[in-house]
């Protein structure tokens, strides 16, 4: 038998202590895994949704609110801006691409977004079923929307006023599902997409009293915001300043706002990280106490190993191997529990139509989990192993 096999037997010769240590270490590692996975997946989700969007232009207000509502569809928008003002930006020399976004309605909590097909191609989304809209009141729904609402191509549905659901239903202007997007892991998965004209039509039909009224409304048409890609990186210096000082709109840089957001969220992450650290420290102490106790309890057995010819490093190695077993098992359990917890949180967030996380992922940062486990186990085992190294054969020979 090899050292690892004997270490395994010795570890489980004290099943209660071994189980408790394993649980403690696994809990600490599960917390670390969870933090790593959630941070990684949120960053990835933000990166995916922000890709290629250099600036968001919308109504004045909180820039972060504008980004959260316009890019991630997590917050309410700051207001609307005149269509003409956005149209004017299309010919701005620093603008390469502009995607209008019109918000206001939702279907069973999923936002209905009036836009252009450029929004879909911006995220390289592809259709799983059906086709893109070709006229107003046709909709293309995201994969999560299809899954959670059960809508198929050809089905009709009516949006309700407001973004949270529960508002007045626009029963006179139902949408028809023209297509369903394949899951892409982007914000599109949880959106109902339609032509900008659809959003205008729904609200103008509901509010216009007569044709003249309709005409006025058409002249005053608005969009909520516009996602803009620069023609040149230099535009980042001048374009926002131009918007903020020369128009009634505001320009918000997503990268800047997300950095601010992550810094704010970072405080919470730090608290969780500290908690995981405390758990790991507790586990380290517990493993130390258990191994120290094992050495004390087995001093004579260890001395016998020396008498049987085992060099001191071999006796110490036996102790270290016990700790390594704990580290390996705890890594396995901790990573599995961390993945499970992330999936659970992801599932909850999905129910709340929030950021997409929770898919099984193995970011390279996860390497730190076994490294941490090994570190904790080795540090905890160092002193007991040294004690085992020093054990004297006289333990066996002393008169009792």
């Amino acid at each position: 038998m090899k050292t690892i096999a004997f270490a395994w037997r010795y570890l489980w010769s004290r099943p209660l202590a071994a189980t408790l240590n394993l649980l403690l270490l696994s809990l600490g590692l599960a917390s670390v895994t969870f933090l790593l996975l959630v941070s990684h997946q949120i960053s990835r989700a933000f990166e995916r949704d922000l890709a290629g969007i250099d600036v968001v232009v919308g109504a004045k207000g909180s820039p972060m609110q504008l980004i959260l509502s316009g890019v991630f569809h997590l917050d309410v928008p700051t207001g609307n801006v005149p269509l003409a003002a956005v149209k004017a930006l299309e010919s701005h020399p620093q603008v390469a691409k502009i995607i209008p976004i019109s918000l206001g309605d939702s279907f069973r909590g999923f936002r209905i977004v009036g836009t252009t097909p450029a929004y879909i191609s911006h995220y390289d989304a592809r259709l799983a079923q059906g086709v893109l809209w070709s006229r107003p009141m046709q909709a293309v729904i995201g994969a999560q929307v299809a899954r959670q609402t059960g809508l198929h191509v050809g089905d009709t549905f009516a949006g309700s006023h407001g973004l949270g659901g529960g508002g007045d239903v626009h029963g006179q202007t139902p949408y028809t599902v023209a297509g369903v997007l394949a899951p892409g892991g982007t914000v599109l998965d949880r959106l109902v997409l339609t032509a900008t004209e659809s959003v205008w039509k729904v609200h103008e039909t509901d509010t216009a009293l007569d044709e003249e009224d309709q005409k006025i409304l058409e002249e005053e048409r608005e969009v909520t915001l516009a996602l803009i890609q620069y023609r040149t990186p230099l535009a980042a210096v001048t374009f926002p300043r131009y918007i903020n000082s020369s128009t009634d709109m505001q320009a918000a840089a997503p990268a800047l706002e997300i950095t601010r957001l992550l810094n704010m969220v970072g405080v919470g992450t730090d608290v969780l990280r500290a908690l995981a650290g405390v758990l790991l420290l507790t586990a380290a102490l517990s493993v130390f106490i258990a191994l120290w106790g094992a050495v004390r309890e087995r001093r004579a057995d260890l001395a016998l190993l020396r008498m049987l010819g085992a060099p001191p490093r071999k006796v110490a190695g036996l102790l270290l191997c016990e700790a390594l077993w704990l580290a390996m098992l705890a890594t396995l359990l901790g990573v599995l529990a961390g993945q499970g917890l992330t999936a659970l949180i992801g599932w909850t967030l999905q129910l709340e139509k929030s950021v997409l996380i929770g898919a099984l992922s193995w970011p390279v940062e996860l390497v730190s989990v076994p490294v941490l486990a090994l570190g904790v186990a080795l540090v905890s085992a160092l002193l007991p192993a040294w004690e085992a190294y020093r054990v004297s054969v006289f333990e066996l020979l002393q008169p009792r």
């Binding site: 038998m1 037997r9 010819g309 085992a310 066996l396 008169p399």
Partner: protein
Amino acid sequence: MISTRQLAYRYPGGPELRFDDVDVAQGGVLLLRGASGSGKSTWLALAAGLLSPGEGHMTVAGQSIRALGKAAGDAWRAQTIGFLPQRLHLSAALTVHGNLALAQWAAGQPLQEGRIAEALAALDVQALADRRPAQLSGGQAQRVALARAVLLKPSVILADEPTASLDDEAAGASLALLRSTAQQQGATLVIATHDGRVGTFFKDEQGLQSLATGGGRP
């Protein structure tokens, strides 16, 4: 064989322990007699190569103990010395078979199932191979410990107080087992004891050597 000349050892800060010369032929029996703390353990430690003589010479199975280095001492001890401790120290975490496998591991040898089976059969405990030490009687446990001691066919068997806390009948059985096992193996038997019954048991033993230890610390 075991041979000593003017053997002495001094613990740091302690009195010097001096031992009479002995010459024990291969296969002979040496009784180390003396009260607790008289130096028996020190003599055993010297014979096992765990201590180096402060003065004089000690040769065990042709090896000068003084010439043994630490690393070489471990390998030499594994090959040459079989040890039967007073408390048997069978690992409770392992089966009888596992305890013998542990001895092979400690000696740096690969697992040799045939050798383990042979040692268990020689002590008539092969049927107990899968039992845990807690499931053995005192006599069975001693047989298993002796099987472990002779597993690597040592030239010398060191037994530390093998009859302590045994009644007369059990002590006699234990000594008989030790003698017969040593004879089977052709090993020199060294028994450290303060039990008068041991001397009585071996009084007619051919080639018996006796060394009385006394004074100083163990």
